[in-house]
Every structure is written in C-alpha cells, then in structure tokens.
C-alpha cells in the first residue's frame, strides 16, 4: 500500500448521476453535485433519505450501480486516486477500534503505514487529542468515553491523516446541545486552519445552517435543492418547508 502524496490543500468532489439500489429499493436516484475545494458542504435531509449511503460511495466503501465520483477531476474507481489524496471519515458512531486505546486509535494510520517513528506518533497523537479537547485520554479505552468524546476522538483520528477531504456522518447525532456546538465549532476551525474540504451529512438544522458554505437538501434519493444557507431557507418546495419548520408543538405547554 503506497503512502499518500503530500498534497496540502482541500480537494474538489464531483458526483455525477449516482444511482444505487439495494435489492428492489432504489436508494440513490441520479445524485449530482459539486463541492469546491476548502468548502463546507452540508447534505441535509430526513432519516432514510440516502445521506449515509451517499457518503459511503464518496469514500469508496460502496460501489455505485451507475454514475461516478470525481476527486479533483479523477474518478475514485481507480485505486491510485484513493492513495493519491488523503480522505478521512468521521463515522456516526465514531467507529473507534474497541480493542485499542484512544491513543492507539488516533495514531493507527501513522503506525500501520509506518509514516513516523513511535515517539513522533506519540507527540502527534497528544497534539491532535489536545486540539479536540481530549487531553489525558490517550490511555483510556473507547468504552470509557462518552458519545461526544468518542466523536471528538474520531475527529482527532481523522486529523492525524492531515486530510484534504473530511466526511462527517451525522456528527452531532446523540449529542447534547453543548457537545454538538463544540463539534460544529471544530468543523469550522478545521476549515479555517487547514483549508480542508468538508462534506457533512446531517439532519441537524442548527449544525447545517451554522457551519455550511452551501447546503444540498436530499429527499428520497434525489437532491431537491442546492444553495447557500440563505438561499435554501427561501426555497418554496413543500418538502424543504416542512423539514425546516418542523417543531415540537403541544397545547399543554407549562409557562415557567
């Protein structure tokens, strides 16, 4: 396995005519969009709309039935492309390896590819854990961390790769509002600090409108709108209106 080249800036991502079915169920129905280098692009939509499947296609975990995905204009079908660019994904559950400590998880990429000596890896791990506010957790096991800490550890693991593209799968799900705000801020910081291209899949409206440069709304396997947060807010489609205005209402509210 070859080590990735030392490309420093974010990459562009282009998805063309992406189709995917599982059995008879068509999950993605001709998805098309382009993400600019260094941009935070949020894909927003209700649960079951095909967001996570789309993300798995972009990182190469699922093969498409039709269509293609281009990174900096090169198709990811070619194995060299995945080695050429540094891509990272923050999974919904964090997906830390439960048999390794947090520190070993964060340094796994460097250790397995033998990119740095052990002392250097230890230094980088400590640095990245500090960046995400997890100082002194390197010897803990993942099951000793809270949900928010696991996600931040997963972000630290992604940062070690010095990625040009980070994919976030529901980064704020299962988190309390404070932890969600920390994760949102971290996504913004990364963009400003390392100019990484970020592709965030979420149904969290606060996160989407808080961090996005552009938002795509996906519904039933189709992109139904793309634009800046303000443009998406003004879109008239009933699906988008319902999604943006959905609220918990009760007639028996207690006045404090």
């Amino acid at each position: 396995m070859s080590a990735p080249q030392n490309n420093q800036h974010g990459v562009t991502v282009e998805v063309r005519g992406l189709h995917k079915s599982f059995g008879r169920q068509e999950v993605l129905k001709g998805i098309e969009f382009k993400v600019n280098a260094g941009e935070i692009f949020v894909i927003m939509g209700p649960s079951g709309s095909g967001k996570s499947v789309l993300l798995k296609h972009i990182i190469g975990l699922e093969p498409p039935d039709a269509g293609e995905i281009l990174i900096n204009g090169e198709s990811i079908q070619s194995p060299e492309v995945m080695n050429k660019y540094r891509l990272a994904m923050v999974f919904q559950s964090g997906a830390l390896l439960n048999s390794l400590t947090v520190g070993e998880n964060v340094g796994l990429y460097l250790a397995e590819h033998r990119l740095k000596p052990p002392e250097e890896i230890a230094r980088i791990v400590a640095e990245k854990l500090e960046v995400v506010g997890l100082k002194n957790t390197k010897d803990k096991m993942p099951n000793e961390l809270s949900g928010g800490m696991k996600k931040r550890a997963a972000i630290a693991r992604a940062l070690v790769i010095e990625p040009q593209l980070i994919l976030y799968d529901e980064p704020t799900s299962e988190l309390d509002p404070l932890s969600a705000a920390v994760i949102g801020q971290e996504i913004l910081n990364l963009k400003n600090r390392i100019h990484v291209t970020s592709l965030v899949v979420t149904h969290d409206r606060d996160l989407a409108f808080g961090v996005a440069d552009r938002i795509a709304v996906i519904d039933q396997g189709r992109i139904i709108a793309i634009g800046t947060p303000d443009e998406v807010k003004r879109r008239p489609e009933p699906v988008i209106r319902r999604f943006l205005q959905a609220d918990f209402k009760t007639n028996n509210r207690t006045t404090l």
Partner: protein, 245 residues
C-alpha cells in the same frame, strides 16, 4: 453456498498475497498465538487424555480376550496420531477459537470499525485476517502434537490400570514404538495445519460478511463453527485418502 466458497478461496488467496507483510504484523501474530495457546492448552490436555483412555478402554478388553494384548499400544497410538488428535482438537479449536474470531471480526464489521480501517487505507486482510490465520496455523499443529503425547499417556494409563486390559507401560509403549512411525505423527500434524487454515479462513470470512446487529453476529458465529466442522470432516477424508501409503 458456491458464492461463499468462492469468497473464502479469494480471502485465502489475498491472505497468501499479504504474507510478505507478516513481519509488520508480528506483534499481533504473537498476541493471537498466545491467546489460542492459553485458551486451549488445558482443554486440549483434558480432552486428549480421556480420548486416549476411552480408546484403550474400548479396544483393550476385546484385543486381550483374543490374545492380542500386544496390539493395544499400537492401535491406540496410531489412531490418536493419525486421526483422533488432529480431528478432535481441530473441532475443539473451531468451537473455541473460530467462534471467537468470527465474533470479534463480525462485531467490528457491524460497528463500522472495519469501514474505518478501509477509510484509513488499512486492509482488513492484512490487519485482521493475516495475523489470525498465521497464529492458528502455527498454534494448532503444536497443540495437536501435545494432544498426541497426552492421548498416548491417557491410553497407557487406562491400559495399565484397567483389570481387563492390565498392560504395563513399557509393553504399551514398546508396541506403540513398533507400530507408530514418525511419519504417522507428521501425518496428523500436517492434517492439523490444513484444518487450522480451514478454521481461520472460514471464521474470518464469516466475521467479514456479518450483517445486522447482535443477531447477525450470533448467526456468523454459528455458521463459522458449523461450516468449519463440516469442512474439517470432508477434508479429513480427502487428506487421509491422499496420505494413504
């Protein structure tokens, strides 16, 4: 079924192709090796001791009654070395270690840990499958060698202690030495090596193809053990036929 067989052959081929990377994974190989040894040595000893004992108990009185007391050592010795130790120990290890492999890799698959490895450009075959298959392929032949020796001891003890057999240790082992050749032991150990590859490939494959949640993991574990045992028995016949003088 044919798809499964094809996938397993492919997984084995990929593991062979990853062999040059073995030195990188040596720590994981040692960890797995000691886990297999520690987890199984006592059980292997107990099982093989009693298999040897039962074999002596079943055959001894019949042979003694017909004036063939001198054949007990040879019969027990060759049966254990060529057949019972490799097959029974492999079935034991399929249940003990194969199930653990399928459960661990299956749980990593279900909880996206394997996807996370792939996104880091780390091959699950190099990182997970290779160390496990090498470790079991090294450990099982050693355990079987141990099982053969303990099985002989169990047979000799029962042959000596049982009134209806009553053969001395020296007579038992003299006869065993006359009948059993080093080749026969090597034959059993070679079978164990082949069975270890079967257990490793079947269990890792079942782990990697796990879908669903805890129920999917349970299904994979059951399939790993059952498929391993079925393949062990089938390959036992094939290997016996091929190794027959």
């Amino acid at each position: 079924m044919f798809q499964n067989i094809g996938e397993m052959v492919l997984l084995f081929w990929r593991t062979l192709k990853a062999l040059p990377l073995l030195m990188r994974q040596r720590q994981k190989v040692f960890d797995q090796f000691f886990e297999i040894g520690n987890a199984s040595l006592l059980m292997v000893c107990v099982l093989s001791f009693f298999i040897g004992g039962v074999l002596a108990l079943q055959t001894g009185p019949v042979l003694v009654e017909r004036g063939l007391a001198s054949a007990v050592g040879g019969l027990v010795g060759i049966s254990i070395a060529k057949e019972l130790a490799p097959v029974m120990m492999s079935i034991l290890i399929a249940g003990r270690i194969g199930s653990a492999m399928a459960a661990e890799i299956g749980s990593m698959q279900v909880y996206q840990e394997i996807d996370a490895l792939r996104t880091m450009n780390i091959s699950p075959v190099n990182y997970l499958v290779l160390p496990r298959i090498i470790a079991i392929a090294a450990a099982l032949p050693m355990l079987v060698t141990f099982a053969i020796l303990v099985g002989w001891l169990g047979g000799a003890l029962v042959a000596f202690a049982n009134d209806r057999i009553a053969i001395s240790f020296s007579a038992f082992f003299m006869n065993l030495r006359d009948v059993v050749e080093l080749n026969d032991v090597a034959n059993g150990v070679f079978k164990a090596f082949c069975f270890a590859l079967i257990i490793g490939v079947v269990s890792c494959h079942q782990g990697l193809v796990t879908i669903g949640g805890p129920r999917g993991i349970g299904r994979s574990v059951t399939k790993a053990v059952v498929n391993s045992i079925v393949l062990i028995v089938i390959f036992d016949y094939i290997l016996t036929r091929l190794l027959l003088k």
